[in-house]
């Protein structure tokens, strides 16, 4: 049987196959690779258990201050592309200020009296760093 010239594969068919293939691979990668994808180092600011703001540090062009008012206390947080620190706070313990500057994924600044947690997530994971610190 002789095939019709209209049914013969041509360059356009190959293009369609390529596009479908690329789309499928793209979808698969997005779903399967989603859990392992490393996103930018991000500061997650939570107040009283609720996420108040999420800031990708790479989106900052320079140091920015956030004033957090919670549980009767006022905290002044500084975020920059490289690090995060609590510049000042009127809480009684000052633990949050004493924590100093944090710059690696997994590090956090905590103010228990104000019930504020600032935690760095994402970014490049340092496999030799501790997963958890007790103390």
């Amino acid at each position: 049987m002789k095939s019709s010239p209209k049914l013969r594969p041509c360059g356009w068919d190959a293009l369609v196959v390529l596009l479908v293939l690329l789309l499928a691979v793209g979808c698969g990668a997005a779903v399967w690779g989603g859990n392992e994808a490393t996103h930018d180092l991000t500061a997650v600011i939570s107040v009283d258990g609720e996420t108040a703001e999420t800031v990708a540090l790479s989106s900052l062009s320079g140091p920015e201050e956030r004033t957090l008012t919670a549980n009767g206390y006022t905290l002044h947080l500084v975020l920059s592309p490289e690090e995060v620190y609590m510049e000042a706070a009127d809480c009684p313990t000052q633990d949050c200020v004493h924590t100093g500057h944090i710059s690696r994924s997994g590090q956090s600044i905590v103010c228990l009296p104000a019930r504020v947690i600032v935690r760095l997530e994402g970014g490049q994971k340092d496999e030799s760093a501790p997963d958890v610190v007790i103390g």
Binding site: P9, V20, L21, D48, P92, H98, V110, L112, V132, V133
Partner: protein, 365 residues
């Protein structure tokens, strides 16, 4: 030519079939390895920050179930919450109070650890700790006479239990702060087991549960903070490699104040009423978390919490004697004021010295 067309058709068909299969799998939304699904949440409860990093298909459910459980325990065991059973007991003025069997069991467990540690762990030290202002952050050095009077109400002989009925002698108060987070970590382990969680870490202040191993199948890397640098949690005295284990650290550096050039830290010796001055700066107690024996009751996590406080009070020699003779399956990391890190034999292959820390490391048996 006909052959070429035939194979091209088949080839295109195969590619499209593979692509569709790929897409169909993607539509399911499930990751290739369900063990790699992760949920990480932070919770402020029981006067501390808790971080749950949980893996597995039910990671989100387990993490939030753990948070709910922490809230429940906080309400049940708080000394300051007027609705809690502990508050009711402390306010009963010597009258008996009927408590939940869970509270009753924890009081029994507290009594047992008080016994085995010769009173170095004691939940009735609460009024003395308050007199120093550690529970309210209003620090002060109490008068010796005041401490001596308060000490007359300290001791588990002032706690009378008959089933779930509990009575405290007049003047006696209890605080489960030295054991509650350990019990909470036991409850978290139970939640992880019920949800078939393959791996997780739960950090409850100074209490850690290393559940399973890391995603790369190596042990979890658990850092012990350097007590000499209390403000920096990232400066370590030692690193432990742990799988299915509880680890609890107690150290005076966790809360302290200075007056007239002298430092007073928060762990009080029940024998003297003064901050323990035993030559140790931190004690870490490590025990296996045996998944087969979990029953949701006070277990190895509770034990580690109670013992870490007690061994800190005892000091190095007495703590090591206790470790050698207690018959409990525990190991210790003792950080001393003279810059030594003393590790017991069971952790000989599981600890890592920190280069440049200034500590010397010893393994004892």
């Amino acid at each position: 030519m006909r052959g070429t067309v035939y194979y091209m058709k088949r080839f295109a068909g195969l590619i499209l079939a593979a692509a569709m299969l790929c897409g169909l799998c993607g539509c399911g939304g499930a990751p290739a390895d369900p063990d790699k699904a992760q949920e990480s949440i932070q919770v402020i409860a029981m006067d501390t920050v808790m971080i749950f990093s949980v893996y597995g298909e039910k990671s989100t459910h387990a993490a939030y179930a753990a948070e709910d459980e922490m809230r429940r325990l906080e309400d049940l065991l708080s000394r300051t919450d007027e609705e809690s059973q502990i508050f009711a007991l402390n306010s009963a003025g010597g009258q008996p109070v009927t408590v939940d069997s869970e509270v009753s069991r924890l009081l029994n467990t507290s009594g047992m650890y008080s016994d085995v540690t010769g009173g170095a762990f004691d939940i009735t030290i609460a009024p003395v700790v308050s007199a120093w202002g550690f529970t309210t952050d209003s620090y002060q050095v109490p008068a010796r006479a005041d401490l001596e009077e308060l000490l007359t109400h300290v001791g588990m002989e002032h706690v009378h239990q008959s089933g779930d009925s509990v009575r405290l002698d007049q003047g006696t108060q209890i605080d489960l702060g030295g054991i509650a987070k350990g019990y909470a970590s036991d409850r978290v382990a139970q939640i992880f087991a019920e949800n078939n969680i393959p791996r997780a870490t739960a950090a409850l202040g100074g209490n850690v549960l290393a559940w399973g191993d890391r995603p790369d199948e190596t042990p979890w890397r658990v850092g012990i903070q350097d007590p000499k640098v209390p403000d920096d949690r990232n400066t370590l005295a030692c690193l432990l490699h742990l799988t299915d284990a509880f680890a609890v650290t107690s150290g005076g550096y966790q809360r302290y104040f200075e007056e007239d050039g002298k430092t007073y830290q928060h762990i009080i010796d029940p024998a003297t009423g003064y901050p323990a001055d035993s030559g140790l700066t931190s004690v870490t107690v490590v025990a296996d978390c045996d998944r087969e024996s979990l029953d949701g009751l006070p277990g190895a996590g509770t034990m580690c919490d109670a013992l870490s406080t007690a061994l800190y009070v005892m000091g190095e020699d007495e703590a090591l004697d206790f470790w050698r003779n207690c018959g409990l399956d525990i190991d210790l990391v003792l950080v001393t004021a003279d810059d030594r890190v003393v590790v017991t034999a069971g952790l000989a292959d599981a600890y890592e010295a920190i280069e440049g820390s200034g500590y010397t490391y010893e393994v004892v048996s």
